[in-house]
């Protein structure tokens, strides 16, 4: 018995929603950053599921590029987080508030 594509899509939507929720409610910068990664990986699952349904390679290739971009983003993001920590000595977003929102 094979698992239908829609299950993968539902899981992917669930992961994406978890990422969005995490982004909105978490207060630690690293956790927020992890939530973004979760969103991207949820999307990756969608790409793979659709690629399997269509039997084409486009989706698979897209996933590779997303992974590369996510890695680049992680490098830059962690560097920015370190420089914030150096100037502020906190990783709580609520305390990073020199600029009024």
């Amino acid at each position: 018995m094979t698992i239908p594509i829609s299950w993968y899509l539902l899981l992917s939507a669930f992961l994406f929603a978890c990422g969005v929720m995490g982004f909105l409610i978490k207060r630690n910068i690293i956790t927020i950053f992890m939530s973004i990664e979760l969103m991207l990986n949820g999307v990756n699952l969608s790409f793979i599921a659709f690629a399997t349904r269509f039997g084409t390679l486009d989706g698979h290739i897209f996933v590779f590029f997303v992974m590369v971009v996510a890695a680049a983003e992680a490098a830059v993001g962690l560097a920015i987080i370190i420089s914030v920590y150096r100037t502020r000595e906190t990783l709580n977003v609520d305390r990073v508030n020199l600029l009024k929102l």
Binding site: F23, F33, M39, L40, L101
Partner: protein, 484 residues
């Protein structure tokens, strides 16, 4: 196999990439105490070389698809290449003396500006969602780093953090939209998607959701309400020349992507979504700007308002040709005038970016008449006064909207223009009518800054006095774009 013509179709990007990597390489060889100004001048030549490459590429025999329908060189891409590259050139020129003044004289800065421009150029020529995504990320990641470039200043790192977190969040939405569009059509090529969606009798709900998500992601990047919250904070904290860059070039490139997706992919109609975004963005931007005392924050809100005016063109999508050409014209005019305004702010900011309050501009007309006159010109253009580029840009947008019978949206836009003129005029009045505050020094305008201001001044004036050449060019595009 890629042919030689294929490589010519990405010639500006190749030139910029080689230049950017050369800067990184040379930077590591230079002794640490040496000024990086030469490197900046070298980078400026890179931007000029890329402009030359774009002009070469504009010959008719190079128009068309490249690399197996991944990108496409046409009027549209050439136009946005030139806008992006001129902004890049001006940004580099205005940074030459800014970086040593702020004690952040590092060569990577120029490399990042140049490499970011690669992404923005690719965004305007890409017709494959994979390439659009990568190009968008190249330009975004470069701007994340640049906005935190004054890394010992807490405001700058905070600005980078906010830009990074919200930008990546938006990328997630954009990407999910692409995934769903791929799921709805089975393709990631804009023209194939257009064919498939055009043939289908009814549009799947999935496609609607997909385009709405893509719109959300891109609206974040162009600072269009209701996704604009990050803008004032990021613009306030980031170094001024970087704000000049990121409020113009990536925005123009993102609008290019939006034009491709809204008009070319024959995507499901999001009329009301765009209508609301446009009206909201104009109102939030202008009302927000009224309340500001910091010039950078005021210009940030003004850029939200201008994103709203541009969205009006997208709401006129049923009048396709006019809408595309007025959106293109507006992107160019906005880039020219906003670049100029931020160049003056950069000049005034001084060491440590200390002078950014409206008070600091009091009496500028007496202290530095030329700078005040130039700033007044850019502010008048942002209001939309005749003989400036801003006037025709707004005029075309609203006349297109009227022809599409968008009476209410046009009214909201005009009321907003009126509200908007108040805060620009307030700054002008302050410059000419108030007593100067003696303790604030106005540094002499150096050559690089002078050239940067001259570029934006000439562009704004040219678009305002002789708009026909540019307008004709933008109108030649829609017919060319439709042919597969």
């Amino acid at each position: 196999m890629p042919t030689a013509t294929d490589y010519i179709r990405i010639l500006p990007e190749i030139v910029l990439s080689v230049w950017g990597m050369a800067i990184m390489f040379v930077e590591s060889l230079l002794p640490e105490d040496r000024s990086r100004k030469d490197l900046g001048i070298f980078a400026a030549f890179g931007a000029v070389a890329a402009i030359a490459a774009t002009v070469y590429q504009a010959q008719p025999q190079f128009a068309g698809f490249g690399f197996n329908h991944v990108l496409r060189v046409d009027h549209f891409s050439i136009f946005f290449h030139l806008v992006v590259l001129l902004v890049t050139l001006a940004t580099i020129l205005m940074s030459l003396d800014y970086l040593p003044l702020q004690k952040i004289d590092f060569g990577e800065y120029y490399a990042l500006v140049i490499l970011g421009a690669v992404g923005m150029c690719l965004m305007s020529s890409a017709v494959e969602l994979v390439l659009i995504f990568i190009a968008l990320e190249i330009s975004s990641i470069a701007s994340y780093i640049l906005s935190g470039f004054r890394r010992s200043a807490a405001v700058s790192t905070e600005s980078a953090l906010k830009y990074f977190l919200l930008g990546s969040f938006a990328t997630g939405f954009f990407l999910y939209g692409i995934a769903l569009l791929y799921g709805a059509t089975g393709s990631t090529n804009i023209f194939d998607i257009a064919l498939i969606l055009g043939k289908a009798n009814h549009v799947e709900a999935l496609a609607y959701l997909a385009v709405a998500l893509i719109f959300t992601g891109l609206a974040f990047k162009v600072a269009c309400a209701p996704f604009q919250i990050w803008t004032p904070d990021v613009y306030e904290g980031a170094p001024s020349p970087v704000v000049a860059l990121m409020s113009t070039a990536p925005k123009a490139a993102t609008f290019a992507v939006l034009i491709r997706i809204v008009f070319e992919a024959a995507s499901p109609n999001l009329f009301w979504v765009i209508w609301v975004a446009a009206a909201l963005s104009m109102s939030v931007g202008n009302v927000g700007a009224l309340l500001q005392s910091n010039v950078k924050r005021m210009l940030a809100y003004s850029s939200i308002a201008h994103a709203g005016y541009l969205m009006v063109a997208f709401a006129s999508a049923s009048n396709r040709d006019l809408a595309i050409s007025s959106a293109m014209f507006y992107s160019a005019a906005y880039a020219a005038m906003n670049l100029g305004a931020f160049a003056v702010v950069t000049q005034m900011a001084g060491s440590g970016e200390g002078y950014l309050q409206m008070d600091d501009y009091s009496g500028l007309g007496k202290r530095s008449p030329v700078l005040a006159a130039v700033f007044t010109f850019f502010l008048l253009s942002l209001i939309g006064i005749p003989i400036t580029g801003g006037f025709f840009a707004k005029f075309y947008i609203f006349s297109t909207a009227l022809r599409t019978r968008l009476i209410w949206l046009t009214l909201i836009g005009l009321v907003n223009s009126g509200v908007g003129s108040y805060y620009y005029l307030r700054l002008i009045v302050r410059m000419y009518m108030y007593e100067p505050r003696a303790e604030i020094p106005v540094p002499p305008v150096r050559l690089g800054m002078g050239l940067a201001i001259a570029i934006s001044l000439i562009a704004t004036l040219w678009l305002g006095v002789l708009p026909n050449a540019v307008l004709h060019y933008t109108q030649g595009m829609p017919s060319a774009i439709a042919v597969r």
